[in-house]
Symmetry: C2
Subunit: 583 residues, 2 copies
């Protein structure tokens, strides 16, 4: 049975299954969400108005048997944070279940009458629209618990916290993890507010007795799957007992700090004296010492990398998953806080309230920079989440993210591109990632073209992070490869082994080709990635973006970053070169 | 003596007089502020960062003897509200005094060390930098009073209220009126925050014994002045006892309401049942009944139109100047409030705190639309200004204007263009003004191309407000003429007589030519106006604006406006035509 599109109309609480149109049939994941958004959403529409849509799509290999680390779901729409197109993807339970229901994508459109709120229950029989009155205002920990009690078969829960209900622009979309915790997020770009604008508090997905995923060429798929799995299992970063498995993404904290590229105290320095105290090594030590939590946690069934963790509280109880590098950096180094317990508490608040941790950490840092709180004031920082929970006016400011907070408090050191704040890598000290921040259609986003691999981790060769030279080309290659990987359903972390191990790359391509019924040679990953970028770029152009939006913030051109005492020197021409093949 | 540029550097508290460069010498007022901003301010700079500048310029005829209604001062910079170039001009005492000191423009640049605040005292001997510590946080009523006590000669006071000190994007710049009240504002676009970012609380201008203004051809100037004065004194709208003189700008309330173009309850209807109660006629009735205040008030020495008023409180004391049409609309019809006393109280709060009334009224209306307050709740609306005064988080939201408030409260009926909110004319019912809102480089601004003259007032012929036909050309002509008038120093209200009376137009041109030493034929008002528009438009393009920014908000395309039940139907091609001669 070929895949279908499920279109849900909240205006009249109806739904229908549609054949996947031919023009969309080559796409999955990010490629599909961006294609649908570009075709069906007017780029100049108000992101919270009735004409924006939320599009959800698993990847090509999602739901296939034993494709390694293939649990990503793509979410797309016009972003309330950037005003441009947005794809944000996440692990958790949803991807495989949606795929196994035979769905290529779910499109949620329209606005309920009388501002009513709904929970959508989706299984093989269709969609049930249920009032969400009884769960409105509740945090995602409680929501997840309620729905696993209410529904059998441990369904996937895609939901928004109170921040998404209020349509604030730092609202993410939560996906439950295998322990039914809201530890996984399509976090960036405010898509939780787009879901809120559709009046949907949660979408429950039960794939029981679903048709499953057709694999056109099982032999090719299996051959590819094996090559990819072997590569993952042999690469130093991704193998069992490798860096990611032992210490999670937060293995990076000490490394990036050493390189002088760890943004500290709202991007005013590149090294944090307390880095070791909030590092992945420290998480492992805490797990060991407290006898609870875990490292080597998988965020979805079938993950072979298992870079996630569960952080324990002082009594050794499971407290929060996951203390990622970016989250630990956001609330740690960037706020001048060197206490992992407080970092973990703030991550838990984000997971419950429905906030992107990167944007939220940057928001606290900008608030501190405005003088309202001292850098390092961990109690003060944590208390800000009470304001968001109460939806006080201060909470409404903070819930919108960095730019809104900067404007409210008169701060002009604002580390954003296209309205979205920068993750845990200082572009003045790591130039390639700065090119990605500046030029990706997504707004500042490390995952959109992770040049950190060669610039810091030495994957696919080692490149000097401090030179401008060659970084435009490097970023474009990574952006294109990423757009392809984001369409597969595979986790981006397969990039490390496939960049270093040729057969791994071939295996990824073969597994995709096997599902689609193509020859491996007919799947040109970079070319297809560039097609996706082109679709996204053109949406943004129609929305009013220009090369002026492909720039880092002004302060990075005149404020020197210690310890290297560098400013952002990348010529505008280099930035404009990245997308010159389209414009 | 030829005019000079006064350049004030707040970084080292220095100043210097510079010869006006040849390339700038043809410009004054808006033409000069926009030229200087375009040349000296990087369009992608942060508007509150160290590299934005505040430029102040009187017009060509400012400070000349008896040029009628010639008291406008232009203020320019990059706008924190729109992100584009901004010129905002005002009446009050400053224009003539700056001109009489022999200054073509004042440029304020740089940022004081250690976030210190200053008052600048300017007279014929130069600039004194004085600490502003003792007046920080004070409202403009008190500031004006303090400085007239401190300095002799009744100087002009250009200052910012608490909102500008906090660098919030709805901060205006106050100019004292002849009674030394802060009744005059370069209000729109947040230039008060740009002044705040320079660390300047107030600029005091004493023109005593200044060199005065050279007039190159006194005979031509006098001949022009007479023609223009005669036209003003004979036109029905501007003559003594004419509409503007009797009822002020608020003579429009009933007229626009009758036309179904009075935006009501956050642009959800075009007629307000309480319009008469907040009209200019009602102001005149109040002045009569209460035995205080006045109509026919002049906002600067030498005004012959005298459209300003002083509104009296219940005891007949002078309470606030001025209850303009746009202000009465903003807090009245647009908030569903039909009580002039409350409208007057809110205007006084704006004048004291340093807020643009149009943006502030729209902000209250959007806040109401978000459900936080009922439309019509005048007590609740007034109490919001206490929040701004306290600088509570809610006050910080509201002090930024409409878009920030809409985002904080999840509202998508947002009547803005380029981030600036619309004035008192509904574009769905008066199409030409919609073209101006959409396309002017200034963001939604009626004064940028006041097609209301033919569409509603029947000046220069009568045009059907409800037709799209011909409105692109009409708007461009008005935008160009306005850019010229905004450069002269004359009040825009001379437009009514000069549009209807040919000798009036000729008189305006001759008076300008006389000052500049040109032949009248060499001053092509429309061509020069277009030059100014081109400079502004190109700044915005470099700042990243595109045709997508030349659009009205999406809701106006799908929400029908009663009573005409019309939506915005202007084709995008018509909007793009307005500036097609540049792009």
């Amino acid at each position: 049975m070929s895949k279908q599109i499920l279109r849900i109309n909240m205006a009249d609480l109806s739904y229908k299954y549609e054949k996947v149109p031919k023009k969309w049939s080559k796409w999955a994941g990010r490629g599909l969400t961006s294609t649908i958004v570009a075709e069906e959403v007017e780029p100049t529409c108000h992101p919270l108005g009735p004409n924006n849509k939320l599009v959800i799509a698993p990847g090509w290999v999602s739901g296939t048997p034993a494709a390694p680390s293939s649990g990503r779901t793509s979410f797309g729409g016009k972003s309330p944070l950037t005003g441009g197109i947005k794809e944000s993807n996440s692990g958790g339970l949803s991807s495989q279940k949606i795929a196994k229901l035979g769905l290529a994508a779910i499109i949620i459109e329209g606005t309920p009458k009388d501002e009513k709120w709904y929970t959508l229950f989706l299984n093989k029989d269709g969609v049930k629209f249920e009032s969400a009155d009884d769960i409105l205002g509740k945090g995602m920990y409680q929501v997840d618990e309620i729905f696993w009690k209410k529904y059998p078969n441990e369904p996937a829960i895609i939901g928004i916290g109170p921040v998404g209900e209020k349509k604030l622009s730092n609202a993410g979309i939560s996906i439950n993890d295998p322990e039914n915790k809201p530890g996984r997020y399509a976090a960036r770009g405010g898509l939780g507010a787009v879901m809120g604008a559709r009046g949907v508090k949660a979408l429950i997905v039960d794939d029981t007795d679903g048709p499953g995923v057709d694999i056109a060429d099982m032999d090719l798929f299996k051959a590819g799957r094996k090559k990819l799995t072997d590569a993952i299992m042999s690469h130093d970063l991704t193998k069992p007992g490798g860096g990611l498995n032992l210490y999670g993404t937060n293995v990076l904290m000490n490394i990036v700090n050493e390189a002088g590229g760890l943004p500290t105290r709202n991007f005013s320095a590149g090294q944090f004296e307390g880095a070791a105290k909030i590092s992945g090594e420290m998480i492992a030590e805490m797990v060991e010492k407290r006898g609870g939590g875990m490292t080597g946690h998988g965020c979805h069934p079938g993950c072979v990398i298992k870079c996630s963790n569960i952080y324990p509280d002082e009594e050794g109880n499971d407290f929060v998953s996951c203390v990622e590098y970016e989250s630990a950096w956001a609330f740690g180094a960037n706020c001048g806080i060197d206490d992992l317990d407080y970092v973990a508490k703030m991550i838990r608040e984000c997971n419950d309230l429905g906030l992107d941790t990167i944007e939220a950490g940057n928001t606290v840092a900008v608030y501190m920079d405005g003088g309202a709180l001292e850098f390092g004031d961990k109690e003060g920082a944590l208390s800000l989440f009470d304001e968001i929970r109460k939806m006080s006016p201060l909470g409404r400011i903070l819930g919108q993210g960095v730019e809104a907070t900067a404007k409210a408090f008169g701060v002009h050191r604002v580390p954003t591109v296209k309205g979205q704040s920068m993750p845990a890598y200082e572009p003045r000290a790591i130039k390639g990632i700065g090119v990605t921040y500046a030029t990706t259609p997504m707004g500042a986003d490390h995952t959109a073209g992770y040049t950190i691999a060669p610039e810091i981790a030495g994957v696919s060769g080692k490149v000097d992070p401090l030179t401008d030279e060659g970084k435009a080309d490097l970023s474009l290659t990574f952006q294109a490869a990423t757009a392809f990987i984001d369409s597969t359903g595979y986790c981006l972390f397969i990039a490390f082994p496939i960049l270093d191990i040729e057969t791994g790359f071939a295996g990824m391509v073969e597994s995709v080709a096997g599902v689609m019924g193509l020859k491996a040679d007919d799947v040109d990953a970079i070319a297809m990635g560039k097609e996706v970028l082109k679709i996204e770029r053109e949406f943004n152009t129609r929305a009013g973006f220009t090369s002026a939006d492909d720039r880092l913030p002004e302060f990075m051109r005149y404020e020197k970053l210690p310890p290297h005492d560098v400013v952002w020197t990348m010529p505008d021409e280099d930035l404009d070169k990245v997308y010159s093949w389209i414009d």
